[in-house]
């Protein structure tokens, strides 16, 4: 049975690290109208934070130069069966090997104290995770979660 979207949020933010907290706060507030459990809200805020951090750390590696930082496009759709879809899209460098990137503890930045657990957290805290990436053209993360 096809379920109907009941609300939609589109959010565009520059890929700067201060927006990790901004993005999860906005998504948390948007989803709050469905009266989610504390655990569900915590899961959603966490996966948004992970996906957005990936854009900031990996997608636009030249962000610290005087060049204008890239942008992160977040879309959240609420469905009438209490499912939530979250899309986090960037137009950055892309991921050459998605399977490798998703491997627990794999990181391209060990000196930066990155844990390499971002995708594991996204997979475990949602019901479905899809990663699409095109080298040189960016990455699209799509996540679904059924609220309790």
């Amino acid at each position: 049975m096809k379920h109907t979207p009941i609300n939609k949020l589109s959010l565009t933010l520059p890929a700067i690290s201060i927006n990790e907290s901004v993005s999860r706060a906005v998504v948390g507030a948007f989803v709050a109208c469905l009266n989610p459990t504390i655990n569900d809200i915590a899961d959603l805020k966490c996966v948004v934070s992970e996906a957005v951090t990936n854009c900031i750390v990996h997608a636009y590696p030249q962000q610290d130069t005087p060049r204008k930082p890239g942008e992160i496009y977040i879309t959240v759709v609420l469905y009438d069966d209490r499912r939530v879809k979250i899309i986090v899209r960037d137009y950055g460098c892309g991921i050459p090997d998605i399977a490798k990137a998703k491997t627990p503890l794999f990181t391209t930045d060990p000196g930066g104290e990155r844990s390499g657990m971002g995708f594991s957290v996204m997979e475990n805290f949602t019901d479905k995770l899809t990663v699409q990436s095109w080298v040189g053209r960016g990455t699209k993360i799509t996540m679904f979660k059924q609220l309790h």
Binding site: I18, E20, S21, N39, S49, E50, E113, S115, G118, V121
Partner: protein
């Protein structure tokens, strides 16, 4: 704004450094917390570092890097790391990474 999203309250007694983590830990704030805490670790070289999670209201996988990084630093002094008052959600992230298997690290959950 987010510059104040996380702070540390630090005290030192009997060779134990206690750090209360306050606010939200993500990639942005963990860098700031790390700088402050590492300065204290180098100053005191404690036998035990206690990280108190009671007032940490959010943590993503950046917190894993933070904990493992401090554990490695303490290892240079022969120190131990204790994580106390870890809430259920943060504990799930630690368990995902298998943190409980690391030597010289003790994790205690929050009282329910």
């Amino acid at each position: 704004m987010s510059q104040k999203n996380a702070t540390l309250r630090i005290s030192y007694q009997d060779d134990i450094l206690l750090a209360d983590l306050i606010g939200e830990m993500d990639h942005h704030t963990s860098r700031q917390l790390r700088e402050v805490l590492d300065a204290e670790l180098h100053k005191y070289r404690p036998t035990t570092l206690v990280l108190n999670f009671e007032q940490l209201t959010f943590m993503d996988s950046s917190g894993l890097g933070f904990v493992v990084g401090r554990l490695q630093l303490l290892g240079r002094f022969g120190g131990l790391l204790r994580l106390v008052n870890v809430g259920r959600h943060i504990m799930r992230i630690f368990n995902l990474a298998g943190l409980e298997r690391l030597p010289n690290l003790h994790i205690e959950g929050a009282a329910v």
